[in-house]
Symmetry: C2
Subunit: 379 residues, 2 copies
């Protein structure tokens, strides 16, 4: 195998593929990165068996040459050293070769690295997904769907299914839902699909979506998503991101969402966020950083945090509108701040149904984003 | 006690003083920060008994009012919460008050924090240094002296005196020396002093100098340094930084420095640094990251790193001049990189006296900076 490649392109691909490689895998060959050269270009592969990532660098694209002098072949390199080596190469032109004994040479400027490669035949074949169940959406939109929901997945393995994001597609809409049973985040978007086409609902591990979100650069290019029974594939022009799916039944969440409300607050999201943030400073010693919200006269809210040992904080925030019953309610400051950041609108509507019932946070003018939080009982 | 102050000024001072406060102190009151208001301004104090820091915010300076409505008094606040509270206050104007029961109120905009203060009488008095042994130098220069030497102090407590920087002042010059017995860093500067005046040599804990360097902003303003038998005080206009000194005899280091050399290499510091950095990538599994340097024909150096399990790296670097005997020598890549960064000149001179003897790195045209490294025996 031989090729000459641009360091910066190689570095981008190496960094993406590294996101799938774990040094703690039980399959030794998976601590390595597979390099494969063909006349079309260079393909890098990494996998921890939950997530597999392939990144492709075309030999030439749009008249720009990224890789040349290609002699086809493949090799597996220890991934622990490879990114640092590439990053610190002295020149932008890099030659990588391997011989029959799997001795790999990386040459750039006057520097020459000799690495012991591993047998590419030992590297597991990535499954090729054969499915008709695929759809496309803009990368930007996918990144938003992930960002607005994935933080709410459970981090506990007691109910493994809740560590994933529930992805449903039917009747021309796509919905992401995550919950850790104390809060829920969901986002729905309309989707142009051929009539009558729907996909099986799947549960994608939160970790996979978080890594995918890091790799994808903001762009309005399309990404193709394909699902089978046990895997999901995200594919862009040069990236192939495969994740296993979580097995099991995702709980029915729609019945959690209250259909009516008793107190509705319309407020500037940033005002509420900053006030809750301040109140949480003196609520840290409580379980879950609990803060308290009390409705007051003339559209005022009182937000308080209390830490008996240290002191307390009280703040009055002016809402745009407070409608309905008076209310005293306590909730996790962290959940409230996560939700307000995810909503990503200037003006929000918070809908309460009494101090013991879940409440909703959503944009004033957009019902596709919904955040739900369970209050905390205080005595 | 009462005062109204600008949040940004208060934040700067709080951050500086926090550098002296440790949550792991055995003296409970020292987990707090002392606030003291007088008609002149507001003084904040923090201490972990090794380092004490006072930061002063004048009520008014150069016609700008920083603090007003001052009612003199003092209080001690739990330092764990105070910086976050100040940082997140909603407005730039902050009112801080405390009553006879040491209830402290911090008010800004509509936010109000109530904190339990502690008795300022319990806070230890900082020693007032009475000494004639003081001198001044520009802050920039002090920061350089620290930066170019402090990294070489020992991190091991087996010889506690080596965890400090040896500071000597005599015959119109000031010298900082640090060594961990494997390498040595020194920097000397001329000092204008009244004739016949010299100071006792002292050993300042490396940690104190590191913290001081973080607090001091780049500036050509002067800083006054005063020493007594067991303490050193650094004083600028509004900062008072007191550190204990290390007790014991600092080893005589001048005899470590070879007086003649057998091989002298003149080279671009960046070329050598980057090449050693690359070689070290495959030397990580060795003790101390050892790399090898071999002189070659026509002013070339060969730098190599070797990690039997992974591979090796070889690079030829062109020096400006290689004079004297041929040489093969091994050394810690980390020590070499630290030294080259500290020298801070484009062109350096490396003076070797054989493969088993310490070697020197210094700027080609400046003999006030000196870095010494002991080679590593390889077999």
């Amino acid at each position: 195998m031989k090729f000459v490649i641009q360091r910066d392109q190689l570095m981008d691909s190496v960094q993406n593929v590294m996101k799938a490689i774990s040094s703690r895998t039980t399959i030794p060959i998976l601590t390595g990165m597979k390099l494969e050269a063909t006349s079309e270009g260079i393909k890098l592969t990494g996998s921890d068996s939950d997530i597999s990532i392939e990144s492709f660098i075309p030999a030439e694209e749009d008249g720009i040459v990224y890789a040349e002098d290609i002699e086809p072949g493949s090799i597996v390199l220890q991934a622990k050293y490879f990114p640092d080596i590439v990053r610190k190469l002295p020149q932008n032109t890099v030659e990588i070769t391997s011989d029959e004994s799997r001795n790999v040479t990386i040459r750039s400027g006057n520097a020459e690295f000799h690495l012991n490669g591993q047998d590419p035949e030992e590297y597991p074949q990535l499954p090729q997904l054969h499915t008709e169940d695929s759809f496309e959406l803009p990368i930007d939109l996918l990144k938003n769907l992930i960002r607005q929901t994935v933080f709410a997945v459970s981090t506990s393995e007691t109910r493994p299914i809740l560590t994933g994001v529930h992805v449903k597609m039917d009747e021309g809409s796509l919905e992401f839902i995550a919950t850790d049973s104390h809060r829920l985040a969901s986002r729905k978007v309309p989707l142009d699909q051929p009539e009558g086409k729907s996909l099986p609902a799947v549960v994608i591990p939160g970790k996979s979506l978080t890594e995918l979100n890091k790799i994808l650069a903001d762009s309005d290019d399309k990404i193709e998503i394909s699902v089978t029974d046990n895997q999901v594939l995200f594919r862009t022009k040069h990236l192939y991101f495969l994740s296993r799916l979580l097995d099991g039944n995702y709980p029915e969440t729609s019945r959690l969402i209250p259909e009516q409300s008793k107190t509705v607050v319309k407020i500037d999201a940033k005002d509420l966020l900053q006030s809750v943030d301040r109140a949480s400073l003196l609520a840290k010693e409580n379980r879950n950083n609990v803060v308290r919200l009390v409705t007051k006269e003339s559209n005022h809210l009182e937000i308080t945090g209390n830490s008996p040992e240290v002191g307390n904080v009280v703040e009055e925030v002016t809402a745009n509108d407070v409608d309905g019953e008076d209310l005293k309610i306590s909730f996790s400051a962290k959940y409230m701040m996560d939700a307000l950041k995810a909503v990503d609108y200037d003006q929000v509507k918070v809908e309460f149904t009494g101090a013991m019932r879940p409440f909703l946070i959503r944009p004033v003018d957009d019902d596709q984003i919904l955040q739900l939080i369970l209050p905390v009982r205080t005595y």
